[in-house]
């Protein structure tokens, strides 16, 4: 479970997050939505400790995020941009992370097979296509059987089949009790994946709760329309 309390983040004069309060429940898939620049990526990065809060607090399964690195052992992270050292191979990258994590041998390599990455593992990462690198990115996030999965625009660059494969995997993980957070601007994707949705606008959470409830509340047929209705209401 992630508990975010009165979180603010300022980059110079620009205030990206302005007092975010958010509770992300264990074992559910939560979507983070909002217009470009709403602070979705910043929020995800702050849960990981990649960016430091200006004020406020983040707790992951009871542990306050404050520089102690151990809580990240339970987290899998798929960043938005999949860029790796150009001259290494995917195999070497996997080996490095296994080494750093103190490999227990209990790895989830299902996606390596389902994405059919085997033929690409020995090639330098610079020669792989953007989509293939994104698959490597997804496999890295899932490899260590995380209890919390943070995905930032996970299907960008993936072909429809790979995108569907990844979504199937997310459904399966949810069924196994994994907590999943997905930041995305593709509403249909979030609608397909998420139990809950948190709507960020101007650096604050304007709605958090089940997707179905949001649709009912705004009397809209789908998530995209519901979010649009919410934005119109907030701006008005």
């Amino acid at each position: 479970m992630i508990e975010i309390t009165k979180l603010t983040k300022r980059f110079g004069a620009h205030e990206v997050l302005r007092g975010v309060d958010l509770r992300i429940e264990r074992g559910r898939v939560t979507g983070i939505v909002g217009p470009n620049g709403a602070g979705k990526t910043t929020l995800v990065k702050m849960v990981l400790g990649l960016s430091h809060p200006t004020s406020g607090e983040i707790r992951v399964d009871g542990t306050t995020v404050n520089g102690d690195e151990r809580y990240r052992a339970r987290i899998g992270y798929m960043p938005q941009i999949a860029r790796f050292p150009e001259n290494l191979t995917a195999s070497e990258l996997f080996a490095m992370l296994r080494d750093l994590r103190g490999d227990s041998g209990d790895l989830d390599e299902e996606m390596l097979n389902r994405f059919q990455l085997e033929p690409h593992l020995g090639k330098p990462l610079r020669v792989l296509s953007g989509g293939t690198r994104q698959k490597v990115n997804a496999c890295l996030a899932l490899l260590f059987r995380p209890a919390l999965l943070l995905l930032d625009e996970p299907t960008s660059g993936l072909d429809p089949l790979s995108s569907a494969t990844l979504k199937d995997k997310i459904h399966a993980l949810r069924a196994d009790g994994v907590t999943v957070v997905v930041a995305s601007h593709i509403m249909s994707e979030l609608e397909e994946l998420c139990d809950d949705v948190a709507f960020l606008l101007d650096g604050a959470v304007r709605y958090v709760g089940p997707v179905a409830q949001l649709r009912a509340m705004t009397r809209q047929a789908n998530l995209e329309r519901a979010i649009a209705a919410l934005m119109i209401r907030e701006v008005a």
């Binding site: 990065k45 990981l48 400790g49 430091h52 151990r70 992270y77 860029r83 050292p85 070497e92 750093l100």
Partner: protein
Amino acid sequence: MTALVYKIARTQARDALRSRWITVYTLFFLLATEGLMRFSGDGAKAILSLSSATLIVVPLVTLVLSTIYVYNAREFTELLLAQPIRRSTLFNGLYLGLAVPMAAGFVAGIGIPLLLRGGGDPTQRGTVVALLLTGVLLTFVFTAIAFAIALGTDDRLRGLGIALGLWFVVALLYDGIVLTIVAMFADYPIERALLGVTFANPVDLARILLLLKLDVAALMGYTGAVFQRFFGGPLGITLASTALVMWVVVPVAIGTRQFHRKDF
């Protein structure tokens, strides 16, 4: 923690060693050393020329390559920061993973032609070792400075501009600036102050270190001559080496601090 630093550095070094730039860098020193030895023998003269090349090229290539490397590794750094690893461990791993292959490229470039000639002129071996050590120290100094620059500014072009500007000042302009100051204050006793100025420039320290070892006062420049007069050979060498080591320690400390505070 040391084991983790080693694991990160090893992978990073593997990536760096496969990059074309380090090969080109090594080849440059290989050809320069081989060429100088062919045309002017393996004596003091060749080593002096190599020293001059080292003092110009090592800071330039190290600063530029390291700055670009830190910027290019941004997303990879984020991926590693998302692992259960301390920031200081990651910083040390990334730093060593770049500085060690660069230093190895330099040592191989100068060392291989010398080894192929049976070690070169026996009377110059001490000087050759001094040259290799100075080059390695300069590599560690300027890799650390490049990390501090690249972590300090998010704008790549600005970072690269600062790195090149710094090189221009410390490697090319410096002696000119010092001489101008000396000419302006010719009537004042400023020799002691100039000693401080020498410690402020790692390239100048390296130059004095090498020239004290080679014992060629004529080429020492103003700060070198003052340095020798004040400290003499052995004490001067000890002081200059210690100061150069401090030039590694301080930028590494600054880089670590920036790495800790940085928002990725």
